[in-house]
Homo-oligomer: 402 residues x 2
Amino acid sequence: MNRIFEQTKLAFDLPKDIIYLDGNSLGPMCHASRTRLMDEMDNQWSKKLIGGWNESGWYQLSQTVGDKIAALIGADKGSVSAVDSTSINLYKALHAALGLNSERRVILSDKSNFPTDLYVAQGIIKQLNQHADKPFILKIVEAKELISAIDKNVAVVMVTQVDYATGRLLPIADIIAKACLQGTKTIVDLCHSAGALEVNLTALGVDFAIGCGYKYFNGGPGAPAFIYVKPSLLDKIEPVLSGWMGHASPFDFDLQYRPADSINKMRVGTPSILGLASLDAALDVWQGVSLKQLRARSIELSELFIKEINQHTSELELASPVNAQMRGSQVSFCFEQGYALVQALIAQGVVGDFRMPNIVRFGITPLYIDEADILQAVQKIALVLEQRLWDQAQFKVRSAVT
Amino acid sequence: MNRIFEQTKLAFDLPKDIIYLDGNSLGPMCHASRTRLMDEMDNQWSKKLIGGWNESGWYQLSQTVGDKIAALIGADKGSVSAVDSTSINLYKALHAALGLNSERRVILSDKSNFPTDLYVAQGIIKQLNQHADKPFILKIVEAKELISAIDKNVAVVMVTQVDYATGRLLPIADIIAKACLQGTKTIVDLCHSAGALEVNLTALGVDFAIGCGYKYFNGGPGAPAFIYVKPSLLDKIEPVLSGWMGHASPFDFDLQYRPADSINKMRVGTPSILGLASLDAALDVWQGVSLKQLRARSIELSELFIKEINQHTSELELASPVNAQMRGSQVSFCFEQGYALVQALIAQGVVGDFRMPNIVRFGITPLYIDEADILQAVQKIALVLEQRLWDQAQFKVRSAVT
């Protein structure tokens, strides 16, 4: 198994002096992305100019990339479009889901959802309640109360499978089963799942899914996100963001919007070709990688990491579930001076990240992280703790992004 | 004056055997964009990884680029954000404008508006009318009836200054003056104006403007678009697309959305850094270029083009206004076999484009087009017409994008 990952590691352009345990925040660059972007500049955009839309595959690129992503999340070909940002794709999915359940008024989510998902829902609620006869409600419960909170009033339940802070997995199969029974539509945010876990959207029966191109898919900073629509729903939904790239025939320049009958209907304006090209190339690293193997490897490395941390220090308290089956592909710890610790670790070449209020987070990404990296990272973490190297860092001004 | 444009021409990587009269559709690549993208790959993303958000200026890039665009459209620093697509930015602007005029129900536009703008408005109308007590209406009139159609029922008038097909300019100063009198909010689509005309949003008193990064700004295929909000309105509007990048403090991970008090509130999800980087570099070509000079040069070249065409052929009928002051930076002709003509011209190295039903369109872009290009293009156009070279092209299958 590990021979596959020895190969995939070679696909990445990683600095020699850094152990990068933050691929769950921004994936590193594949050599193939660099080659591809060079080609887009030297042979496509600069040479073919406007002709690139036909000749360089730009026009279909959201779908080309979408199909590659579909294969990694257990979705049918033609059910995923790579376009816009995760937040905007969630907005599309929420409106579509509400439209399919137009008699109901409740959007259900949980406190551990990624905040932007809640923000997007808050925006929709505010907008709809300017005119709605019966007010829409965003109901936010504890994660463990999600299933019991799904009833016939709930139009849509939206959840993020992996808690961004602790890595805790939600029981999405059970959530979806209950939603199905109650006629509640489902939206699953796969930002920390896609490329990290075995996900089978078709088998789960999820209605909509969204996710990110720049974390485990390594598409580059601000890479296009993706949106999945269950194939049986595709012709039942009307895009709320109705732009020309989602039109059945954009270049007819009709005055009337008529949505495409494919997943292209989820496109809005002109998609970012440079972003898509980088992501497209980065997705090729997955050829020959099974997600089952990747997940097994992720657990193996995570277990090693936790075991070694426990052996070397007692200062870090595991914030992630102890049970590997309940954990995504990250390991988080509580540490009061978490921000300072992360800064001190970065100075030592171990890159993780900090999340409020006291979470120190390490992404375990088998495509380019191996046992040697884990062992070396733990040594450095132990050193920083033992020598209290974070002490000097704690008074530094916190920058906007950590 | 022309010495400036001799210099700017050198900034572009243009194929030697092509006369590119389609920069109004997709601008060509600046050498600086290539250099910048190489740097983003080799020195920022691959080396700094997640640290790039702070150290490489990514977090502020929407604003950095927005400020460069602001200087080219007569807008204050801090009033423009470069983010998302034009269609999505229009969606934000329309909702914001309707929110500012919540008693009114009419969105006014005209038949010559770019179709995606109408599609976006249609989507909003459909969405709002699911719940609205008093129905919202999209009123589409002839362009010449716009001013008289603005009354106290109109919440917002949205216009594209330059007709994408004919290049005809709308009298936006008059439109805005009337709107101002009637308390109607204004949205101007600058897709074919920004980088082509002298635009002074502050002097005009426009409420919102949107536009494109990939046409006259040469940001690359699918480059991020921009949105302008009149500074006095900024704290009065609530973003309908409320994502974490528009939050006052994204990395506090609050559960409650709280919009930024800057133009950043118009951001939603994570912006495309590769797209922004290319656009950022391409905008530097404008240093030392005055838009007054650019406009004068554009008119000079357009007049030459029309005069030469008239001298060489009688088969092309001018579709653009004869009066240069009424025309954007493009020249369009009617020709029944327009699609075939464009294909035949491309085969001869003259790139224009075709727009339904019979428009052949040539963009005049002084940054990299000069007299010699115009004269050579006209010779080739005359040759193709004289020898009916379009005749063989007319039966070719039309591809999706022309």
